[in-house]
Symmetry: C2
Subunit: 195 residues, 2 copies
């Protein structure tokens, strides 16, 4: 089942590289945030990676594209400089680079809030695959809702069992098909819950 396989490869091919310390060159995600805070003079109230899972699997290149246009009364996301890269040799690729993004959430009448966030890329890739019917005929009978549910359930299960990763990331489900929801506010609520 597609969602299950995607969750396994997302965890093993990515989260294991960027979240835990590798005992050598990479200090681990929370420390990477601490280094960024010191260099940039900012504070991240929650030092975890927020992984956003959208209902339709659509993920824009930049999270700011989820902001509501012309609504200065609402919180909005803005990308900042990225966290430090993780570089390692992987499957014949020398110095493959893994890079996480930092965003700030501007709040009307209040200080900005910083966080590390991104969408769950495998869902974005599947979203693109499903748009190219001719190339990927074999996958045309996929049920999007089932894939997203399987992906979330499997990923939560793997993360909770992983000693190295369970306390280093947060899955955030976002119904991007609901025009009344603002991602920046969904993230602020999640941060308040975790602070």
């Amino acid at each position: 089942r597609y969602g299950i396989g995607m969750a396994c490869s997302f965890f093993e091919g990515y989260l294991t590289h960027v979240l835990p310390s590798d005992g050598a060159r990479f200090v681990g995600f929370a420390e990477n945030i601490a280094i960024y805070e010191a260099n940039q003079g900012v504070v991240f109230p929650v030092k975890k990676l927020f992984i956003i899972i959208t209902k339709s699997m659509y993920c824009p290149p930049d999270l700011k594209q989820f902001n509501k246009p012309n609504r200065t009364d609402l919180a909005r996301l803005e990308a900042c400089e990225s966290l430090s890269d993780v570089e390692k040799d992987v499957a014949g690729v020398k110095n493959r680079t893994y890079r996480n993004s930092a965003y700030k959430i501007h709040r009307p009448g209040s200080d900005p809030v910083y966080l590390a966030a991104e969408c769950a890329t495998p869902l974005h890739t599947l979203h693109l695959v499903l748009q190219k019917r001719a190339l990927f005929e074999e996958l045309k009978n996929i049920d999007v809702e089932e894939v997203v549910n399987d992906f979330c359930t499997m990923l939560r299960s793997i993360i909770s069992k992983s000693h190295d990763c369970h306390d280093k990331c947060e899955l955030v489900y976002f119904d991007n098909t609901n025009p009344d929801l603002n991602l920046a506010d969904v993230l602020l609520d999640k941060i308040r819950e975790l602070e």
Copy 2:
């Protein structure tokens, strides 16, 4: 089926980023090689990305690990400086980096041969997943031979139908469980066939 999904996401989530020109910042793979040749003063007889698929799905960090130790009579691989990075915003990750490796094949008594090569990363990731039974119980009944066959067949089919990618990469199946085979020689044979 796992291999089919992996081939689709490998193509859509990776090959489409590194092989064709994006009409803007990235000139395309063959041009990326041409730029490298000019800067480094070397020649790549075949200007395609060689994607190595191993029988056991095991992929070492560096292809030199497939060389035969203490055999100076055999061709061997050595990593060189990488090709130029492709950077783009993807699914909320700002400036995600895609990097391909260049290798030279040293031949006893002959000039070295340059090529761009790497293993098929999804197979490597699945290989790691299958080693962690406790975390990934749901996948324990996978048949490795079926997954590798499905992956190769599907990937060949997608690439052949893709106008942008079909002439920019070569799949190389390598039986890494056969001690008589030397990857450097398998690649040299492939290059001679394609020159």
